[in-house]
Symmetry: C2
């Protein structure tokens, strides 16, 4: 199949058909618009050996066009993103209005041809506009400009500088650029759709987290003495998990961090069921009241158990009062039976509770609380989690 | 540019280059895998005039292949989704293992060629496997099979039946199919990625709504007499909005419904700040307690006001106790000053409150409550919203 093609194109030895196929194939799999554009321009400059190439791209508002990349083998020519044009720009105006014009030779605007038309005053061309178009091409040192449309919309313009060998572009090359510019439009549209979808997803994730944060904070506000507790436990849990991850060669995946984030935000959600007079009682609780308090981890799970996506987070909510020696609640799990997500929250939760003032006792200082956590390491707390916690402490991050 | 090509291909008059370009362009913009496959198969059958065509596609588990479509000009040949193959299937096995095999002539498995190799016992081909491959081609009445790979992975196999004119496929046609099959792989991969992203987005939306539902239900549980109130108000609000939309030529967009959904779920969220003894008080409230109760709409907004995406929903939370004649709270808005989202919730909320039993009074019957809402239409309630509500009532949906 590898026939020799491109021999006639004045010294270049590019197999344009293959080049186009391979370009189209890479394009469809690149969903990051900026990466896509950089890739295409690099390809053109390398394969066709032009001094520089750039792409002017329609922005989301549909009225502005920005020069996305301009790069030659000798380096950057025009700073990317520096040039911004609207529909009033002569070049944009020309392409939007004149897309079937005879000035556009086979879909390409060629500098020499425009010059000839102007000097020979051929036909009744609007010379004022053409002169201004030529001036724009001068500014960008563009030999040719290739517009690219999707349906009737101008999506972008490909600019090419002179060929390195100083020869003219031949028809085969121009045809290649027209086909390429068209593929680029399709791929860009595809990439933009992809990006929009990804942004939507991102926005939705933030909405979920932020709403959960707000509702958790509102629920916590019932308990006079724990203001800010949820936020502090969440931050500390995530920091501890990062340290664990560093030590453990990134064994924790992104999902673990997402689950931990949700779990620590919701770890006390079950307290919503506890009457305020128990929650805010000044002084020790009766046995029954204590039982009611301890129920909160299970109540929390009951509230959210129907949500399949929160399954793993719920392990953190349910077991964050288990103790490493098996003396915790609700199930008396022991050692590594306790899910890591719960073991992390346990340390963060205990540290924050110890350092908070209550009406019937002053909170411990940070140093005292750390001492206490070290003392009960292996009894109350998972030793590995405590190690990670201590690293944070020694780094002054607690 | 429209040169005549394809003349040599035994009677067909297909310009394969143009055909391929146009196919590739449609493909990149179709992000629904099933639609994409149907489109491609239809195109092949029409342009190349074959009796039938089908595509066997790798599934997400990477080990199963399913026949996605099989359609000829005479109708469906094999029910789509009916055929499922794993890596043990001789055909799949052959393509996975033998992709550079000389049996594959220029990337295509041709029925006649396989038969010839078997009967002439050419080379040391594994005839056992080849015979089984041939049997598979018999089953699908496949003249040719074209595999398509992404890197080293078999993504799919294109099956083609006989040409309508009963001639053999020529090289130019086969080359076209190979290129097409390769484009299909890329496009399918793209479409699958797109679908996964869209599904992820969908999952995330559900997670957000479900978590909000669960937390709202937990908050509501504090108030002994309103169990299920939030869910009922939410359902009724959405039904009223649908009726309004029908009457108003679909003037309400999807975002309005999303906002209304969230707003009605959260309309009483501010009650979280009200002490239980006020919330559950049996008998009329004192002036101060009443004030505390009325604060709930503003408190609800305070809880969530930092979340930009909930801005429009918050209008529903804040103003659902405004009255059409301006005598409501918190701001005493009048008539159409009251955002529609709040006017809808107001009717749904009032109807549910009226029909619920309280310890100090029995709830009204449905009919009585509807009478009451009609009576205060234009005073307490937005007349248009009441009209939509009445339509629901008359249809027996309340």
């Amino acid at each position: 199949m590898a026939k020799r093609r491109g021999r006639r194109t004045g010294g270049t030895e590019v197999n344009y058909k293959k080049e186009l196929e391979s370009a189209a194939k890479s394009m469809i799999l690149v969903h990051e618009p900026d990466t896509l554009i950089r890739m295409i321009v690099r390809r053109i400059v390398q394969k066709v050996q032009v001094s520089h190439a750039a792409i002017l791209l329609q922005q989301k508002d549909r009225d502005t066009y920005v020069l996305s990349v301009s790069r030659g083998l000798t380096g950057l020519k025009v700073p990317a993103g520096f040039v911004r044009m609207d529909r009033d720009n002569p070049l944009i105006n020309f392409f939007v209005q004149h897309k079937d014009d005879f000035v556009l030779h086979g879909g390409v605007l060629i500098y020499d041809r425009v010059k000839k038309i102007i000097t020979r005053r051929i036909k009744s061309q609007p010379h004022r506009l053409l002169k201004r178009v030529l001036h724009q091409m001068d500014i960008f040192e563009a030999e040719v400009c290739i517009p690219s449309y999707f349906r009737d919309e101008l999506l972008g313009v490909l600019f090419l500088g002179k060929k390195k060998n100083c020869k003219r572009f031949v028809r085969q090359e121009l045809d290649f650029f027209v086909a390429l510019a068209s593929d680029v439009s399709m791929a860009m549209r595809n990439a933009q759709l992809f990006k929009e979808l990804a942004q939507e997803l991102d926005k939705n994730r933030r909405l979920f987290i932020n709403t959960t944060i707000a509702l958790a904070a509102a629920i916590e506000a019932k308990d006079n003495y724990t203001r800010g507790h949820t936020a502090r436990v969440t931050n500390l849990s995530l920091e501890i998990a990062k340290k664990l991850n560093q030590k453990d060669n990134n064994a924790l995946n992104e999902k673990f961090f997402d689950d931990l984030h949700i779990a620590s935000l919701l770890h006390d959600i079950g307290k919503i069921g506890i009457p305020e007079h128990i929650l805010n009682k000044e002084g020790p609780l009766s046995a029954e009241e204590k039982k009611r308090m301890e129920d909160h981890s299970v109540v929390g799970v009951n509230i959210l158990q129907s949500i399949k996506e929160l399954e793993d987070s719920m392990l953190g909510v349910k077991y964050h009062h288990e103790r490493y020696d098996g003396s915790g609640y609700p199930e008396g799990l022991k050692g590594k039976q306790i899910p890591l997500i719960a073991a992390v929250i346990a340390v963060a939760d205990a540290f924050d509770a110890m350092t908070t003032n209550r009406p019937y006792r002053r909170g411990l200082t940070k140093d005292e609380a750390v001492q206490e956590i070290m003392r009960t390491r292996g009894q109350q707390f998972d030793p590995e989690v405590v190690t990670a916690f201590l690293v944070l402490y020694e780094e002054g991050k607690i």
